[in-house]
């Protein structure tokens, strides 16, 4: 009889580990030392007071900031209430269904774009220019159409809208293009409040938000070890209003963090742990995602590398740390240091997308970035979608069962036979063999006959096709007007500020 296997361990997918548990602990305990011995500088009195009143040591206060030292027991206490799982759910479609769920916990992967690049490559001319409302909407439309893009961030700062209120317009542009979960940015608390109100309208009320928040907020403390007024205010507001937030420093090994990758991880963790402690003091259970963007300064050009192997490696190592810590991770991939959509873009994206997928980083952002995160590129987004698809094929691994080992099939076919017409092939070829969409596998003759198009050309064509496709508006006219009104009111409030409106165009 066929006996089912027992006492048998299976690698369900390929596995990758950068750090052992012992190494993770070494980094964690080092971060606790830095947090308690060196401390962090905090520029927000309310945040300082919150930490102080719960046991932190406050020193070296000046008119703007204080040095806050957090004893380790405060971190332990914060971890006790820290959620292991954070969920963001996109707004409803026309039938009222919220289809896109981002369920962030250990080893779950979601790929998404990056945010707020000052520049973009024009989809038609390829020219590098300031990003506009239209660009953000276009990128959102692409992200909506691409099956492997799970969440969206504004691939471009809208710079044809007022600088002081750009965040509302940007959110509106995103909502026009996509109903996938969004990670927003905010100019300030006022901007965050406006966007939250917009989200309530889009969802149909605060209760819907409670069922599943429609966005998370991007908050970035400044490395090394500095937490600005605006950053802390945003954190506290998020805690009070059930907004999940990404607390992600961007330390730069060799410049704003130690030159060693382990040291950079220690510092980043210290910075994130401060956010965790503060948030759990404000509201136990506050939803935190920590990151994230760790890289090295290229010592030849002094740029912040977005495509370096160290970036991919540090992100992966940090994922190991967050898994151990039990907090969702803000990973980084799909980005490059190239200045145009070329071979380099795809080489770097391949490495960082693969690494992020293998390690199981949760919220993998920055897909679509080029030029050290200063420029967004629509082709990069479309190409990355296919690279992610490839990686997902590999992540499905190699199942080992009687059926897949196929000894009987081999015996049947025998030496010198073939498997083309065998049922074993026919029944599985659609699932076993990955099917490309932009990759070309024709022979040389057929490829030449079809016009000898390069990959970049094919991606460009596909991108334009997606951009020009007719799609149903995601929300009705009335709702759009309501959201638009909030943006206009914000502009009204800021209309006297100088250099604000039409700053770049």
């Amino acid at each position: 009889m066929q006996v089912r296997k027992t006492n048998y361990l299976v690698n369900a997918t390929p596995t990758l580990q950068v750090l052992t548990e012992d190494e993770i602990e070494a980094i964690y305990f080092s971060a606790l030392r830095v947090l308690s011995e060196t401390g962090v500088r905090v520029y927000e009195p309310e945040g300082v007071e919150l930490a102080y009143s719960h046991g932190a040591i406050v020193e070296n206060a000046d008119e703007k900031s204080s040095l806050v030292k957090i004893p380790s027991w405060m971190v332990d206490r914060a971890r006790a209430t820290l959620p292991h799982r954070v969920t963001v759910v996109g707004p409803p479609d026309r039938n009222g269904k919220r289809n896109y769920v981002m369920d962030l916990f250990k080893n779950q992967i979601y790929y998404g774009t990056g945010s707020d690049t000052p520049f973009t490559l024009d989809p038609y001319t390829g020219e590098r220019r300031r990003a506009t409302y239209k660009d953000v909407k276009n990128f959102a439309k692409l992200a909506q159409a691409l099956p492997n893009i799970d969440f969206f961030m504004s691939l471009g700062i809208t710079q044809d809208t007022a600088v002081g209120t750009y965040d509302r317009w940007q959110y509106l542009a995103m909502l026009e293009g996509t109903n996938k979960p969004i990670n927003i940015t905010a100019v300030d608390i006022e901007g965050l409040k406006d966007q939250l109100e917009m989200a309530y309208i889009r969802l149909g009320g605060k209760t819907e938000w409670k069922k599943g928040p429609a966005f998370s907020l991007y908050i970035e403390p400044v490395s090394p070890l500095s937490h600005s007024e605006e950053v802390v205010q945003k954190l506290l507001f998020c805690c009070d209003n059930d907004i999940p937030f990404v607390y992600t420093p961007c330390p730069l090994a060799g410049a704003t963090a130690p030159c060693t990758l382990a040291g950079t991880a220690v510092q980043a963790l210290t910075e994130s742990l401060f956010g965790i402690v503060l948030s759990q003091l404000r509201k136990p259970g506050a939803q935190v995602i920590i990151g994230g963007l760790m890289s090295n300064m290229d010592m030849k050009t002094s740029v912040y590398c977005y495509g370096s192997p160290e970036m991919a490696l540090l992100s992966a190592a940090y994922t190991d740390i967050t898994k151990w810590l039990g907090v969702p991770e803000y990973e980084t991939a799909g980005c490059s240091d190239t200045k145009l959509f070329d071979e380099q873009a795809l080489m770097e994206a391949t490495f960082n997308i693969t690494t992020a997928g293998l390690i199981g980083g949760n919220m993998i952002h920055d897909v679509g970035y080029i030029e050290q995160g200063l420029t967004s590129c629509p082709e990069m987004l479309v190409a990355s979608n296919e690279i992610i698809d490839r990686v997902k094929r590999i992540l499905r691994g190699i199942p080992v069962t009687d059926d897949t080992v196929a000894l009987d099939v081999m015996d049947e076919v025998g030496p010198g036979g073939h498997y083309l017409a065998h049922d074993h092939t026919y029944n599985r070829f659609k699932t076993e063999i990955w099917r490309p969409t932009l990759t070309d596998r024709r022979d040389y003759n057929d490829w030449t006959k079809a016009g000898s198009k390069t990959y970049q050309e094919r991606v460009h064509e596909r991108m334009i096709e997606l951009l020009e496709a007719d799609v149903e508006p995601l929300m009705d006219e009335a709702m759009f007007k309501e959201l638009h009104r909030i943006c206009e009111l914000a502009d009204e409030r800021h209309k006297d500020e100088e250099l604000d409106v039409q700053m770049f165009v």
Partner: protein, 213 residues
């Protein structure tokens, strides 16, 4: 088109091998001629398969399944067609040349040709020029297809063509060649009638040979 023919063509497209015998018998019972069934049922289905395959919407295992469905019906129709004296699409003789045991490409060509309605005779791999000559005499094909995967065995294609010439058979068949290292230039050099860069083009090429003939 009658319902049964449409059902047959759908069964071919879906590669429904098990249904083919019943469907073919039913069609004959309905009084349709073998030729009608072939042209408007089977071939109609295979034409669709060919178009979909080229468009990237159908895949090799499916095409082979369709070809097999077609062949299943042909086993019934063939004697009737011969009886009626109707001309068949044609006969293709295939082999991998001497010294070469790689035959996956040749197998593919064979199955694609069957799908296009050819009667296919596969004489295997590692085939000497003399064995080719003997097989041509016996089987009297319209098209001879040769495959080689190695640069070392490629030249056996030339030797085989020469052997066909010497046996006085060269004018009676069209010779097509293929395989990874083979090129159009090489085909011209050894005096083959055509070169195909993949199995689907090979079946198309064979079709142009017999329709031109």
């Amino acid at each position: 088109m009658s319902d049964i023919l449409e059902t047959i063509s759908t069964a071919v497209i879906e590669g429904d091998v098990d249904e083919m015998v019943d469907l073919t018998e039913d069609a004959l019972d309905e009084g349709l001629s073998a030729q009608e069934i072939l042209d408007n049922g089977l071939m109609a289905g295979m034409d669709y398969v060919g178009v979909e395959f080229k468009a990237g919407n159908m895949f090799v295992p499916e095409v082979l399944r369709s070809a097999k469905a077609m062949q299943t019906a042909m086993d019934i129709l063939k004697p009737l067609l011969v009886e009626s004296g109707a001309p068949m699409v044609g006969k293709v003789l295939l082999a991998t040349v001497k010294g070469d045991l790689h035959d996956i490409g040749k197998n593919l060509v064979g199955m694609m040709c069957e799908g296009a309605g050819f009667e296919v005779k596969d004489i295997g791999k590692d085939i000497e020029p003399e064995a080719f000559v003997a097989a041509v005499k016996e089987f009297e094909p319209d098209v001879v297809g040769m495959s080689a995967l190695l640069t070392t065995t490629m030249r056996m294609m030339g030797h085989t063509i020469k052997a066909l010439e010497e046996a006085g058979l060269r004018d009676r068949v069209k010779v097509m060649i293929g395989g990874a290292p083979v090129t159009q230039a090489f085909a011209d050099e050894i005096g083959a009638d055509g070169y195909a860069s993949n199995a689907a083009t090979a079946a198309d090429l064979a079709k142009t040979f017999v329709s031109a003939a």
